[in-house]
Structure formats: C-alpha cells, structure tokens
Amino acid sequence: MSNDIVDLITAKHDVRNKKRKLNGKEKFWLTFRYVSLIFIWFLVVMPIYVMVINSLKGIKNVYLVNAFKLPEKIDFSAWSVAWSGTDYFPQSISDSMIRTLVFVIQSSIISAILGSINGYVFAKWKFKGSNFIFTLFLFGMFIPYQAIMIPLVRIVTTLDINKSIYVLVLAHVIYGIPICTLIFRNYYEAIPNELIEAGRVDKASMVRIYRSIILPLSIPAFVVVLIWQFTSAWNDFLFAIFLTGGSPKLSVATTALNFITGSSNQVYYGVNMTASLIVSLPTLIVYIFLGRYFLRGLLSGSLKG
C-alpha cells in the first residue's frame, strides 16, 4: 500500500536539511512560502468566518456593510429562530434537518453493503466481461443526472413513491452504486490474492471467504463509503428538488434552505446566515473528525484510488 494516494498526500515529507542553518536566500523563500500560505488561508476561511460572526449578531443588527465586523455583543437569538422558527419566520430548518439525517443514514448504509459485495466480486472473483461491466458502471458516475431525471420522475410518480422520503433513499442508493463499487474494488485489489487462495485451498466458499477473511478487513473502506455517501446525499440538491417536487412535507436540508434564503425572508440576513451554517455543520463535523477518509472518497472520483 506504499503507493496509496492518500498516504502520499499526508506523508510526513522530509523537511530537508532541517538542522542546517539557512542562508539568506533560503530564509527569504521560507518566509515567502509562509506569507503566501497564510494569505491563502485567510481567503479560504473568510466565507465561514462571515457565516459564523453574522450568526452571532442576533436578528436585527445584521447588515451587509458590517459583514466583516465582529458582533458587539454575542447574541444567539438567530440560532433559535433559524432552528425552530417564530411567527414572523415560519420556515424553520429543524424538521428538514432531522428528515435528512434519517434518510441519509439509511441510504449510506445500504450503499455501503452493496458496494462491498460488488467490489469484492469485481476485485477477486472476476468473470468474463467483468472489466467491461465495471467500466460501464464508472460511466454512470460521471453522467449529468439531468439526462435520466425526467424518466425517473415519471417512474416514481407512476409508482406513487414520490410522496415519501424513501424516493431519495432509492435515488442515492442506485446512483451511488458506481462510486461505492469503485471505492471497495480499489480497496480489495490491495488485499493479497494469497489470502483468498488460502481460503480456497481450505474449500471455503466465496461467501465464507467474504465473511471470514474480507469483511473483517473492510472497516476502513466502509468508513470511506459511509462518509462519502453521507456527505454527497446531505449536500445533494438536484435529486431532492426534482424528486420531491419542492413539497414542503418532504423538504430536505438543502431544499429547505434554498426556500428560506431565496424567498421573501431576505431581510432576516442573520437568520439566513445561521440557517446556512446549521445546514453545513453535519458535513463539516464529519470532515473535521474523519477528514482523511473523506479525502480518500473524494479522490476515488478521479479513479486513481
């Protein structure tokens, strides 16, 4: 696993000639690098900074001209309004957040199980044409979903499943098959064939080998896929807006937020900012604690494993 892409990125690289005293030119370049890195850091952090400080200014004192100014007094009232609503701000975010959390967890778990089985076969039990079929899968990962959306909407409307949140579970499981299969396949490719052969010599069946040899080794890949599916389903807007048709009863985090910030509530900037921040928190928290696994999922999309 030495050529593993995430290991390469996060490898402790030698800070060359650390002990030696730097000469003037080297000192200049080191300073230049730090100044540039810090400058970029400010640019990257700025939008989140704006979000956070403006969510702490309460309801009334949020104006564009003060966008970068710290709050004079920390006031959490926008948080409670954004979360549970009040009479002048009825579209709160809490119901949609909980609905999203429930469906996203379900779709991620189903996706991971399917991906693991598929990946196992495509990596270790190749059949005639399996590489070709795998490439067909991969293409499904790159298509613009608009190209299947109108027939999909028709199917779910005809079958009358567009009245429940399970329509999104279905969509994310189906269109998650390619990426989940890819992540598991790449992971299993790195498991030595000798382990499988040893199982075969003991006359273990394919299922038995999966259960007792492969599955116990799969936890990191499961984490990668769960996080990937969680993040992409949480942040998804396209499927949600087409398949639930903007019905408020089925609004998820992104569609509810788009409705709030895009509608006549524009005056309540502080509440809008807070709602946006709340919607971003779950995926941000996952990133903060499991960033390495998130990165691996992200890079799978480039097919480089």
Partner: protein, 303 residues
C-alpha cells in the same frame, strides 16, 4: 502454481461472482442506460406539456430548435465562459498551493486541512454567504469583496460581480474556484510525492538548479495528473447547477445549461425540450469522459 488452483475452481464459483453482482448490474443497466434511452426517446417527441394526448415523433426538431433558441445559446455561452475561468483559476490556485506545500513545511497538516474543507460544504449553504461577498453595492454601501478591496486600497477594482451582464459568469467562477482548488491541491500533491526522491537527488548531483529541477524533472512527471485534473474539473464545471442556484437563483444573467434544463422542465413543463437539453449536456460530458475511462481501463488491464 496459483494458475492450477484457479483452474480447479468449481464452475459454480465462477458464476457465483456474477450472481452476486447481477442485481446491481441490472439496476445500473435500467436506471442509467435504460433511462438515458428513454430520455432520448422523449426528446424526439412533441411532448411539450403535462398532457399525454397526441404525442408524435418529431425527429430532431427539439434539437434544431435549441440552436435558434436565444436562451439556450445564452446559457451555453455562459457555461463556456464559466468553465474556462473556473478551470484555469482552480488549476493555477491549486498548483500554487501544491508548490508551496510539496517539500514539506512546518504546519503543513494545518494548512492542508483548511484548504480542503470547502469541499465538504453544500453550495446551497455557501450561496448565502457568496451572495453577500460578491454583492454589487459599492463605496459607502459596499459589504463583501467590494469593501475588502476598498480597505486594501484597491477600490478601483470594485465590481458588479454576478449582477452585470458582462462579468457575471467570471464572478460565478470565483466561488467555484474557492471550492475546488483544494481538490487540485490534493491531486498535485500526490503527483509530486509520487516522484521518487532519487530523481531530484540525481539532478542535483548533476548540478541542476532548484528551478531547473522543477522545470525539467518534476513538471514533466505531472502530465498524467494534469490530464486527470482537467477531466475532473471539466465534467464538474459542465454540470454546474446548485452553485448557480445557491447564489443567484434562476436569474437570466447567470443561467447555464443545467439551470435552463430545470427551468424548461419545471416551469414550462416542456419535457421534450428538457430532455433534449439534458442529452446535449450528456454528449458534451461523454466527449470528455469516455476517452478518459477507456484510457483508465487499459491502464488497469496492464497492472
């Protein structure tokens, strides 16, 4: 030795593999390829409203209509402008980040984690903030970027951003660059670190300067990485949808192909037109992605 073991494998095991993935294969065939064919089929009819009466095949009429549809050509042109600025911007920014980090520096992990976080956040959420940051109010009323530019003495750079007809798509590329530069950084960093240290050492022993090492030894090794990045950024850019909706809704100035498809389908209920636009988008993306997939599967076969 291992070959003989494989040959002694019972037939049931070889088919067994297929049996386990068959449900997924059928699902993908139906829901990806089947529905694409269905979409193509709809796009060849005159299904221009919810009613299903008098549906006839009209050949490529919906596609030829798009050519003369000013709104479509407008959204296509917007997409081209956006794509060019976004790809160049993200490529250059990500490459600079990678150059700054690749040799290893104290605090690298800190910077890298922050540079990558934008990809974990939805654009519907970030749209609220970028709507502010790229606000067109100037001088006394200025808030976001316009205010920041005044503060650092670059007030003359104040701009209308995504509101102006001329610069809207270039402004839209800024948040996209903000989000995707980290991805480019990650891929380039992996590229740099995949190059064996011996190559640098050898060049150094031969008397090459640091800049010569980059120019003649390291950069040529990054060509495959560059290709991957271009394809990834290209297909993401062509699909641009929630980024645009999140910041500026369905506004005409910033409309791109995916947004126009949504508008045609949802607001005008013109399913034939909607599918035609979607298929055009699919073809554009396939032109970029299919050669890459073929190249990739050949690489896999040699492994």
């Amino acid at each position: 030795m291992s070959k003989s073991v494989i040959n002694r494998r019972p037939i049931s095991a070889r088919i067994g593999g297929l049996l386990f993935v068959l449900p997924s294969i059928i699902t993908v065939l139906i829901f990806v390829y089947g529905l694409i064919i269905w979409s193509v089929n709809v796009s060849l009819t005159n299904q221009n409203s919810g009613s299903k009466k008098d549906i006839k095949y009209v050949g490529l009429k919906n596609y030829t209509d798009l050519i003369s549809d000013e709104r479509f050509t407008h959204s296509l042109l917007n997409l081209v402008k956006f794509t060019v600025v976004f790809i160049l911007g993200a490529l250059i920014t990500g490459f600079i980040m990678a150059l700054l980090l690749e040799k290893g520096i104290k605090g690298e992990g800190f910077f890298r984690s922050f540079y990558l976080y934008p990809m974990a956040i939805s654009f519907i959420a970030m749209g609220t903030v970028f709507n502010w940051i790229l606000n067109s109010a100037r001088d006394g009323d200025a808030g976001g970027l316009n205010l920041a530019l005044q503060k650092i003495g670059l007030g003359f750079l104040q701009n209308d951003w995504y509101v102006s007809e001329k610069g809207a798509m270039y402004a839209m590329a800024l948040p996209a660059i903000w989000q995707m530069s980290g991805y480019v950084l990650a891929l380039f960093l992996a590229g740099f670190r995949g190059i064996p240290d011996d190559m640098r050492e050898a060049a150094r022993v031969d008397g090459a300067s640091e800049s010569q090492i980059y120019r003649y030894v390291l950069f040529p090794q990054l060509t495959p990485t560059l290709l991957t990045i271009l394809i990834i950024l290209g297909h993401i850019s062509m699909k641009a949808f929630d980024l645009i909706i999140g910041i500026n809704g369905k506004s005409y100035v910033t409309q791109v192909v995916a947004v126009y498809m949504w508008e045609s389908t949802f607001d005008s209920r013109d399913y034939a037109k909607g599918t035609a636009i979607a298929i055009v988008l699919l073809i554009m993306i396939a032109i970029v992605v299919v050669p890459y997939l073929r190249y990739n599967s050949k690489q896999q076969a040699y492994r």
